[in-house]
């Protein structure tokens, strides 16, 4: 687009959280009047990069250049004043619901240090009108934000971000809670901003949107910049950069022969969400299935049905040829179907507990005597798991927080491998997990699968190819293809992952 010098450059940005390297040597340049899209799997490092640029993280490696001069922001407010405005993913955190449109638009001005205690309502209103006009918003300024639709709220959040005349506008998943029509409105607005010379960083998982509005695309993978793409975009190229390139060397010896008639789990015409296609799938004894697909493809939703967290619309699930319909999570656990959820710190780790207490949590009934815990038995079992999974810790009584991210994840996986399972599902088990721990987890699962079944859910192709016997690809809520490990054809897999009906076809030119 524009050949002028970049407005803002970030150079060699790196950031570690404890033992986890979240970002490593990422450089991006932002040009005036350009929409730069950023894509990457969950946990790839996109949010970390945003948080560094918008002044939230202050201790990072590398430099941020503003028209050639290095700047370090002390706070997000500082970054905002220097011309970087950010609209975060959760809209309702971006607006104050109980306040009027006018007050929301002028929030930054109201909070300005040195402002007067009693503000001039009329002047503020006038300024709010100007901002609203700039964005072509035709709200009654006295409307309380609570009464507005999601897209209106989103517009207000963006309009407010613009009220300080920013040079760079960062939008994190702005369409995640918008309908298609509402998204169209947003895109029109972005075009207008572009023509005003604002540089926009647009983060999204929706590839067709990116194909439609972006001028360039930066792909982040495992904390590194995997690729920068220019128009016209090849969707396949984008997805390849996101989910991985050439299959790595085979690390784990797979169990060789399997009796194909020996079905452990069967899904028959299972409809997870209304309007989605039925799913049919069989998993055999001793088989590890890798379930892959982009975010929103329906992988986690399927796992949640099998774990009793939601009921399917229709269809049957059979375990060992017996009908299986879990009414609750407890019921699923009782039926020996286990689920390691994604995002361990929010969904799995109990921070005040020790390694032992975290491990035995689902199976306390195994270790009790009329309700009283037999701690020695717990300790013995925990110690066995620590040893066989190679968990690096100061013994089973160490607090979970003294462990690195990868070792915490091992503890959480160990939690569900403690007892006999029929089916175990691991949702994004390798997020924020170092390569060593990833191998340890895969190896342990492989060695202990026996005649049971496992599903590994991951967006990253490498992660599933590494441990799975069979790779199943979901897209738009349906299973669109599968391959045995022996005959992995990455191009075909990528095609299944990225194929899309409708708007995408137009953009792959």
């Amino acid at each position: 687009m524009s050949d002028t010098a970049p407005l803002i450059e970030v150079q060699d940005i790196g950031k570690s959280f404890g033992a986890t390297r979240a970002l490593d040597g990422v450089s991006v340049d932002f040009r005036a009047g350009e929409i730069l899209a950023m894509v990457g799997a969950n946990g790839a490092g996109k949010s970390t990069l945003i948080k560094i640029i918008c002044g939230y993280h202050t201790d990072y490696e590398g430099r941020i250049l503003f028209g050639g001069d290095e700047k370090r922001f002390a706070t997000p407010e500082d970054a905002y004043e220097q011309g970087i405005a950010t609209v975060h993913q959760i809209i309702n955190q971006g607006v104050v619901q109980s306040m009027s449109v006018c007050e929301n638009l002028m929030l930054a001005q109201l909070l300005q240090p040195g402002g007067r205690a009693f503000y001039d309502r009329e002047a503020l209103r006038k300024r709010a009108k100007e901002v609203a006009a700039l964005m072509d918003l035709d709200f009654n300024l006295d409307t309380i934000v609570e009464e507005l639709s999601q897209s209106d709220r989103q517009m207000i959040a963006i309009a407010r971000a613009l009220s300080g005349n920013p040079k760079l506008l960062i939008l994190d998943e702005p369409t995640s809670s918008l309908s298609d029509k509402e998204a169209d409105r947003l895109f029109e607005m972005l075009e207008r901003l572009k023509s005003l010379g604002v540089s926009i960083l647009y983060v999204s998982h929706r590839l067709h949107e990116i194909g439609r509005i972006a001028d360039r695309v930066v792909v982040i993978r495992d904390g590194k910049k995997a690729k920068t793409l220019e128009r016209p975009f090849e969707v396949k190229e984008m997805v390849t950069a996101m989910v991985g390139e050439i299959p790595k060397h085979q690390h784990i010896v797979r169990s060789s022969s399997k009796d194909a008639s020996d079905v452990k789990l069967e899904l028959r015409n299972l409809v997870v969400d209304p309007g989605k296609p039925p799913i049919n799938m069989r998993i055999h004894r001793g088989e590890i299935v890798g379930l892959t697909g982009l975010i929103g493809a329906g992988k986690s939703e399927l796992a949640q049905v099998l774990f009793g967290m939601r009921s399917p619309v229709s269809g049957d699930v059979l375990v060992d040829n017996e009908p299986y319909q879990p009414a609750s999570i407890a019921d699923a656990v009782h039926n020996r179907v286990y689920y390691v959820p994604e995002d361990r710190s929010n969904n799995a780790v109990v921070p005040i507990f020790t390694v032992r207490q975290n491990m035995t949590l689902p199976f306390l009934g195994v270790f009790d005597w009329f309700g009283v815990m037999k701690v020695r038995n717990e300790q013995a079992r925990a110690r066995t798991m620590i040893e066989s999974m190679g968990i690096k810790c100061d013994g089973e009584e160490a607090t979970i927080h003294s462990l690195s991210g990868g070792n915490q994840q091992k503890v959480i996986v160990a939690r569900w491998l403690l007892e006999q399972f029929d089916l175990v599902m691991l949702d994004e088990p390798f997020q924020g997990v170092d390569i060593r721990s990833r191998h340890d987890i895969g190896r342990y699962l492989r060695e202990n699968i026996g005649d049971r079944a496992a599903i590994i859910i991951a967006t990253d192709l490498d992660e599933v190819i590494e441990v799975a016997d069979r790779i199943v690809v979901m897209n738009g809520g349906a299973i669109v293809g599968e391959q045995l490990y022996e005959e992995v054809d990455r191009d075909q897999l990528l095609h299944w992952v990225s194929q899309q009906k409708g708007p995408l076809e137009e953009t792959t030119v």
Binding site: N346, A348, L364
Partner: protein
């Protein structure tokens, strides 16, 4: 990982863990060496006796605290228990056993309502139990028309109450086991042991703590989070009612003012308990030690001629100091 800790780090850990108990032991030695009466068994038991009612309430409120909630209605539940006990026995002339059962069931029901308001109606715990506190406080005044109830009291309709407290009921608050150990203290000790066993040794206690620390993680291992939260408030309400029974037995009448400072003393004790052993979370052992600490300090300071009106100030200072000590020191961890 690192086996060798610096001496400073070791000392800090030791201070966090045992600092509170050392201060407590120091005070115990100090008061006793200055005033020998302090160490007499009669005085020590009187300290414990003074602690019993709010100590029992504090043990009860430990349950909601463990699940990261709070119950502000415990003081008024205890006060209502006092009034109902007196009214049932003195005015209605009902037996002590039925009275005790009724009061405990009443406490459990109030706890259940608290729990339902929080879990089902989704009112924040602080607001739900604050509302319940006012409601129960008001309820307490209704049966007697706002008057205290005792033998021979004249009631609203001009009727004179003719019943009296059952002998064994009064024993719960005034009696002594083996002529030495006050019955009320024994009840507190039994409650403390029961709460300790449930919270610290059983699988259910483990789930309570898991819910308090990460409710979503507890839900995703199959714990019935709502049921546990409900049970925490039922336990708190029931134990508060028991505290009220002990209080009624001690004063032997239905006093409208009996609620008093019970709520704050109980919650203060449970919070001081965070500092005991430096665990930074509610725990029954800490709660009971916290309650006894307050009682001991007030007893000793009274011997040193501290005027009664600075008592609340001293309690508050202890609470703030204990919390600042534990949280401040271990913050850097």
């Amino acid at each position: 990982m690192s086996a060798e800790l610096s001496t400073a780090e070791k000392f800090k850990r030791f201070a966090i863990r045992y600092g509170f108990l050392i201060v407590m032991a120091g005070l115990f030695l100090f008061f006793g060496s200055v005033y020998r009466v302090f160490w007499l068994p009669a005085n020590l038991f009187s300290i414990l006796l003074g602690v019993t009612v709010y100590g029992i309430l504090a043990l009860g409120v430990t349950f909601p605290l463990v699940i990261d909630g709070l119950d502000l209605s415990i003081g008024s539940v205890a006060a209502l228990s006092v009034m109902i006990s007196a009214y049932m026995m003195v005015v209605m002339e009902i037996s002590g056993v039925i009275t005790i059962i009724t009061v405990l069931v009443m406490g459990a029901c109030i706890g259940l309502i608290n729990g339902l308001l929080i879990v089902k109606v989704k009112i924040p715990d602080l607001l739900a139990t604050l509302g319940m506190m006012f409601l129960v406080q008001g309820l307490q005044l209704i049966p007697s028309g706002g008057r205290s109830v005792g033998r021979g009291a004249v009631l609203a309709g001009g009727v004179t109450a003719r019943g009296e407290f059952a002998e064994y009921f009064l024993f719960l608050g005034q009696g002594k086991l083996f002529g030495l150990v006050p019955m009320a203290v024994a009840i507190m000790v039994v409650v403390a042991i029961m709460v300790f066993v449930v919270l610290s040794l059983t699988r259910w206690g483990r789930v309570f703590y898991a819910i308090g620390s990460n409710a979503e993680a507890a839900r995703l291992v199959g714990a019935k989070v709502d049921t546990y939260r409900l049970m925490a408030y039922v336990a708190s309400g029931t134990i508060a009612a028991l505290g009220g029974i002990v209080l009624a037995a001690r004063i032997g009448r239905g006093d409208v003012q009996s609620g008093g400072t019970l709520l704050l003393d109980a919650i203060g004790s449970a919070l001081i308990g965070f500092a005991v052993l430096g665990v930074r979370r509610p725990n029954p052992f800490g709660t009971i030690v916290g309650a006894i600490f307050i009682g001991m300090l007030l007893n000793g300071l009274t011997m040193m001629n501290m005027p009664y009106f600075v008592q609340d100030f001293v309690k508050g200072a202890v609470l703030v100091a204990a919390l600042a000590f534990t949280f401040g020191l271990s913050k850097s961890k």
